[in-house]
Symmetry: C2
Subunit: 343 residues, 2 copies
DNA sequence: CTGAAAGCGCTTACAG
DNA sequence: CTGAAAGCGCTTACAG
């Protein structure tokens, strides 16, 4: 059986309370001599405090929760990996653990959150991928449970701490970049329609189209789950139109990769016959051929700041920043052509 | 404050023991009438059992632990993501959670494991990336704590449950594939020397070289951390040799991607002037140009089986399989040339 | 079929 | 400076 605090107390010849005070280094003074005895006993027995017992007694846990859906293979999205890494590192800096709960079925999602929150398994939660009328956010708000969100609410969808990227600005810049290079008929492969950020990105697309006097054509717009396969499929459909697009804005790099592939399969030279621009700047974007021009989201930084925000909320402090919108940045590579395109 | 079992008992007008029996559905019979009363009270109060208290009392937790090092940005390796996803899904099927602890500094690694194990935070641990004289494995074995390993021990490094890919077979096949296509002077960018699998893969490389009557040249071998940058650097160094290689086996796809880039920067056409073969079959392998020929590791399957194995060990059962070595498979794409290369 | 009680391993007022 | 004791929210033998 595992060694407990009482074993330490017995070996050191002190009360178990004293052991606790030594371990927690306060709040009451312990004589150097006693401390040394206890420390020696701990060392000798290889004692580790039982984390469950500590949490139960302290009425707070040392863990931050994150639910990832395996439905859309969320975790496999390269940008999500950056997020996870930075959150993990920030957690580590604060001595926190991460509890990762997979959700394989949307119907079970609510119960996973309820278990985490009601079961007091975690001290706070990070939510990603805000949806319209997001039940998770409604629940966490109602419970007044500490949480932060990657992504913004819609206007009347409540007020909560978040960090988001200005998606509309990103897609606007993307379209402008395409237009500046001479592309005229620009399609858009958008994200899953349930996501709030899908609307946001579509809005930027339309805004830039309008500003440039280009017509919006709903046949050139798709909403899909972000996978390479879906990007491929959407692009193939666009290319089969009577008036196919000469460029495409994909709302994720994975979609863009699939779209490039579809174009290449039809014998088109990307960056010459057709312009392709992505969103995210995942590692593959730099390594595909041609290298993908894309809108970069600073996921690593977002994860760090999000986690810091959550920690402050958990501690009951007013977070230094509560609602942040970060600008994405255009990363020009070769998939839209490197100089003016002449039709 | 959170609602507790006593609140439920009070509302239902039963003892708190009865509430427990209803929640745990046994082991003692509860009358239908009482059960209904309790269930109604639970529903009404939105009661969730406190997971900490349950774990403490039951003397076991419902969580599986995984330490990932942020040093080598382990988590960002695409193959690791597959592993995490499949482990997560398998955990979910068994009602388990995953505790992910980042390790930012090798010096802290031991203490992270000690906290997980000694602190009884997790019921079992999954170890990845076996190193020579691996302290983690020695520790877990000594503690007789449930764990499984991705990767094999060396001969006298102890006996533990694992799943591994036959790396030597993979690299052997890779080299043979290169030789069959006419490549003659084959370099190898190996993994970090501390990893047991680095040796394994190097062994397959040497074996195939020998079998084909090709000389082993230590100048054509490097051991590096697996990043694109490192692959780039190693390749650049190879190409600067008096007798540069005409092909390279990279022991991970990330290394291969970097190596391809370095070759392309020097104006070489991959698949024509130089052959490149990778290891892993990450998503980018299919999407880079030229598409990367590689040795595929079935990481998703490995994660599932590894997790299943761990669960059986946690339950105290004899695992159905205890030590598994899976064959990798050659995935031929274009980076080694698609037909015989004529020097 | 049900309740009263011990105890999991801690922390922390309370008393000395 | 230190110890005895209450209690966090559960589970589960024990007794009825």
């Amino acid at each position: 059986m595992a060694v407990t605090r009482d074993d330490v107390a017995r070996l050191a010849g002190v009360s178990s309370a004293t052991v606790s005070y030594v371990i927690n280094d306060g709040p009451r003074p312990v004589s150097e001599e006693t401390r040394a005895k206890v420390l020696r006993a701990i060392e000798q027995l290889g004692y580790q405090p039982n984390v469950m017992a500590q949490s139960l007694r302290r009425q707070r846990t040392n863990t931050v929760g994150l639910v990832f859906t395996t439905i859309e293979r969320h975790l496999t999205h390269p940008y999500f990996v950056d997020l996870l890494t930075s959150i993990g590192e920030e957690c580590a800096r604060h001595g926190l653990n991460m509890l990762l709960s997979p959700c394989a079925d949307r119907a079970l999602e609510q119960s996973i959150y309820e278990r985490m929150v009601g079961g007091r398994q975690v001290a706070g939660i990070i939510v990603t991928g805000v949806r319209h009328d997001d039940a998770r956010i409604a629940y966490l708000s109602a419970e007044a449970f500490p949480f932060v969100v990657l992504g913004r609410p819609e206007h009347d969808d409540g007020d909560f701490p978040y960090i988001d990227v200005d998606g509309a600005r990103g897609t606007d810049e993307a379209v402008q970049h395409l237009v500046d290079l001479g592309w005229q008929r620009i399609a858009c492969i958008g994200l899953s329609a349930e996501l709030v950020c899908a609307d946001d990105r579509l809005a930027g697309y339309r805004r830039a189209l309008e500003r440039n006097g280009l017509a919006y054509d709903s046949r050139l717009v798709a909403n899909v789950h972000t996978t390479e396969a879906a990007g491929h499929q959407a692009m193939a459909r666009f290319l089969a139109l009577d008036e196919p697009p000469d460029a495409v804005l994909a709302c994720s790099d994975e979609l863009a990769l699939g779209a490039m592939n579809a174009a290449q399969e039809q014998g088109l030279v990307v960056g010459q016959d057709i312009g392709v621009i992505g969103f995210d700047d995942i590692p593959s974007a730099a390594y595909c051929r041609p290298p993908l021009t894309t809108i970069r989201q600073p996921m690593y930084e977002i994860g760090t700041r999000l986690c810091r925000m959550l920690i402050q909320i958990i501690e009951g402090e007013e977070p230094e920043e509560r609602q942040v919108i970060l600008p994405p940045t255009l990363v020009v590579r070769e998939s839209c052509g490197t100089h003016r395109h002449l039709p």
